[in-house]
Amino acid sequence: MQSFVLPYTAVLSARFRMILQYRAAAIAGFVTQIGWGAIRVMAMEAFYRSTSAPQPMHLEDVVTYIWLGQALLGLLPWNPDTEIRNMVRSGTVAYELVRPVNLYTYWFSRSMAFRLAPTFMRSIPLAILALLFFGMQAPASPEALLFWLAATVGAVLLSTALTVILSITLMWTIAGEGVSFLVSPVIYFLAGMVIPLPLFPDWAQRVLDILPFRGICDAPFRLYMGHIPATEAWEVLFHQVIWIVILVAFGAWLLSRATRRLVVQGG
């Protein structure tokens, strides 16, 4: 009797453990980000203790900025779409060319899902914890919340457009992560993830204002906390839209170049 039941209980418990494993991995990532955020917050607190001179941002704003950054970390264009990477390496990317769809739009939507899905999983619980226990503040006003949401949509589009470009460059480099090794740390930095952008020297602000990366983290975060007043929100959104158009046009052009010279990896 026992030997009859055994396979079923074994498969049940194995399956159960596997699901728990995945949950463990999700919780682990979550704990990592909280630890990371806490370290950054403590370091910034220490810097603010060192001076009494007025700063371009209050410490509470910096804390909120850091936690928003941790919650929305997944939105940054870290790496090319892993599926596209595998397709380029194995040569199955050729199938993509025969699909009766616009390839750029197709890759854009798949990259958007690639950015959004993992972020949704982590961002909401992390933001709730940070709001309750780690000194993150609520949005400055209902307007600030609305403009932040709008700018976050812009940030997702910007980030996706950059992700697609990173993916397309794989058609030239084939092996590894391609140029994303070089580009991603720079984007991470210029978006405001290493230190909040308003803390950079004034001369740097003019450059940062022109570049598109501010629109991924810095500008939406500051709309959230009212550091950019709601009256200036339109400028932020306009800046995002211009860069989205430029990056999408560039990505589409790059893709048309890439498909023209594509050498399919046989196999």
Partner: protein
């Protein structure tokens, strides 16, 4: 029969040759490592530009802390990424093959991958360390010079211990847990500033539970020749790196326990 050292050299040469097959990928990877640690340091520069000092610590002093932890970690990171793969090896059942070979599993795992692209972090951290060492008025007596070398070595051993622990956990979870990254990368993130700036619970954790501060903070205070705001004695600062070494030895024992516990997944 090759002795362990010869075997290890052989492992490294195989690994190097395989990485040199993709020269461009290697170059991009190294530059990418340099960039991603480089932007962190530019962040520190910007913060010092803004705040002047960090609780009485100067930029050059913080740069010295930053350099020590990055150099020590980069050494381990180059040598021992094999422990990252333990989860995968256990899951696929390939770990069984390692057990059959007449050499210690630790040696085989250390030899599995010599990640040359981590040179990027080493070079960047080394350059910062060199700059700080030249800029600061350090009294390079033989004891201070010896302490610097010992600190880097014990630091590398400590990080190796941490990697071994991460691998050991995989015997139970069959998964390399991201949770442990909060200790390695979180610890490095924290150690680039002096431990004294953090809150008490955090300092205690990274001294008594995970003795990272013993290799990245206390001895560096002695090297810099200043009094410790935490009030430790010079004798303790000189002896502290040994705790990193103890941690490494302890992690080897725990690895043995894990090995005895190991049951093949059979796939």
């Amino acid at each position: 029969m090759a002795n362990p050292l010869a075997l290890y050299t052989h492992y490294v040469s195989i690994s190097l040759r395989s990485q040199m097959q993709y020269r461009v990928s290697f170059l991009l990877g190294t530059l990418g490592q340099l960039f991603s640690t480089g932007v962190e340091f530019i962040g520190i520069l910007a913060l010092f530009d803004r705040f002047g000092s960090l609780n009485q610590w100067t930029l050059a002093e913080v740069a010295f802390f930053y350099g020590i932890v990055n150099v020590a970690f980069a050494v381990t990171d180059m040598l021992s990424r094999g422990f990252d793969h333990v989860g995968q090896l256990v899951r696929s059942g390939e770990f069984d093959r390692m057990l059959l070979r007449p050499r210690s599993t630790v040696l085989q795992l250390i030899g599995q991958e010599f990640t040359l692209k981590r040179l990027g972090r080493f070079l960047q951290g080394g350059a910062v360390l060199l700059w700080a060492a030249l800029y600061l008025d350090i009294d390079w007596s033989p004891s201070v010079a010896a302490l610097t070398v010992i600190t880097v070595c014990c630091g590398a051993c400590f990080f190796l211990g941490l990697f071994i622990n991460i691998g050991t956990v995989s015997f139970w979870t069959t998964e390399t847990l991201e949770l442990m990254n909060v200790l390695t990368y979180g610890g490095i993130e924290a150690s680039k500033y002096p431990l004294a700036i953090y809150r008490a619970w955090f300092r205690r954790f990274f001294t008594m539970v995970i003795p990272m501060g013993c290799v990245t903070y206390f001895p560096v205070v002695a090297i810099l020749g200043r009094s410790d705001p935490l009030g430790t004695s010079l004798a303790f600062q000189y002896l502290a790196p040994l705790f990193g070494l103890f941690y490494f030895i302890l992690s080897l024992f725990i690895w043995r326990i894990g090995l005895r516990h190991y049951r093949s997944t059979g796939s």
